[in-house]
Homo-oligomer: 252 residues x 2
């Protein structure tokens, strides 16, 4: 028989609630919560990720969902939900960890400097996944990849592509040692997107919504690319710009 | 001397509040409100757009802001603001209207079918502006382009590029008469993005976040394009996909 939790005062419920609302709780425990059928399905595909499924008592779950289930009441579901109309299913997850040694084989990367909006970070993780990259590196000042808004906009890509937080300058040194071209984005001393050639290995470096990539970091790039603006817009959304760049590099 | 409004019960304040919260109010009056220095600046550049500027009493505005000013109290600013930390400046605007006859000269267009998220619509308007298109046509089921979230994510592009609401099927007929190629997005009978050639005139047709372009509408496209997914993501965000397509068509 499944374990059942009825009270919003239960200590596990309090922990889950903190996981969706407080970054420190996620950082300290290296756990997070995902919500909704699609994301739970994706979480279950990745081994050793789901600790428990939390399922509202009126919900029937698919037979192939084999992780341990905790039955919860509508009040508990509402307490831990981040949406207005919850589907009543959640996966309580460990944050995926990646072995240091495997990271040396990553040859197509997205490096993100200080992008603050969780929705942008999520969309960029989804885009990097779609473009078949090996990993996403989040530098200082980025939104938490396990923020519920980030998780929702990434649509399950957290379970497909490694996402790690690290010092971007160290990563750039390491990638240069491995002869991977660092392609920064900026306006000065930049070549146009139309001159960018498709490449098999690359690291694309994008930056903050308002100020772009940190100048010192950008100066270490092998090449700086600018996306032409044909109209009157002053810039593109950073996730859209990332998509345009990655797909230009992948074009065959 | 400037007019001054102190009470949140003032009838104009009630109207502005409705403009930011109720779509029907915007639709009926063909007005909207923008907030923050950047958007007010952009609104002022477009002639016959700003009805009045609303400025919190402690805020100094630039000398070149020459529209009529209404001074408002902090309480009024808070009442009509959609942000947590308001900058205290607003422009009360007319929704731009576009003459029917001019529309026959539009040769680069984005047609949007039933995209529901206001942030996506705003990002797509911004992207269409950046790509130098002549207009954006929103079909049935799209979020209101004058929703405050849409306006915020478009970053002022509402004042640069025509955005109109219309029946997409009629627009497709009209564009075909004008020999403009309709490029739909979909998965079936689709050519890959990598086979798409840059073109001087085109109408790109994109659709709903979950279900894509309506099948009947899509069947009227001259060509259907699919963006390759190299990883495990099932799809791209619709605004990112739009950016990739538009910039592929604009590549030189």
């Amino acid at each position: 028989m499944n374990k059942r939790i009825e009270s919003t005062q239960n200590s596990l419920v309090k922990h889950w609630k903190k996981l969706v609302t407080i970054r420190k709780e996620r950082d300290q425990t290296k756990e997070f919560l995902v919500e909704g059928f699609h994301l739970v399905e994706e979480a279950l595909i990745r081994q050793d990720t789901v600790i428990q499924l939390l399922v509202r008592e009126d919900i029937e779950i698919p037979a192939h969902w084999t992780a341990p289930v905790i039955e919860i009441t509508a009040a508990v579901a509402k307490e831990i939900s981040e949406t207005e109309q919850t589907q009543g299913v959640f996966a309580y997850c460990k944050q995926p960890q990646y072995e240091e040694t495997a990271q040396d084989n990553w040859k197509k990367l997205l490096l993100i400097d200080a992008v603050q909006d969780p929705g942008n970070i999520g969309t960029m993780i989804r885009t990097a996944d779609a473009a078949g990259l090996d990993g996403v590196i989040l530098g200082k000042g980025c939104a938490d990849p396990y923020n519920p808004k980030t998780v929702r906009s990434a649509q399950g890509s957290h379970f497909h592509i490694p996402v790690i937080r690290a010092e971007l300058s160290s990563w750039i040194d390491r990638l240069k040692n491995n002869k991977i071209t660092i392609i920064g984005t900026g306006l000065q001393n930049a070549v146009s997107l139309n001159e960018l050639k498709p490449q098999s290995d690359f690291a694309v470096l994008v930056g903050n919504e308002g100020s772009g990539v940190d100048a010192e970091l950008l100066s270490t790039a092998d090449q700086v690319v600018k996306i032409p603006l044909y109209g009157q817009a002053e810039s593109l959304n950073v996730a859209v710009a990332t998509g345009i760049l990655l797909y230009s590099l992948r074009a065959e």
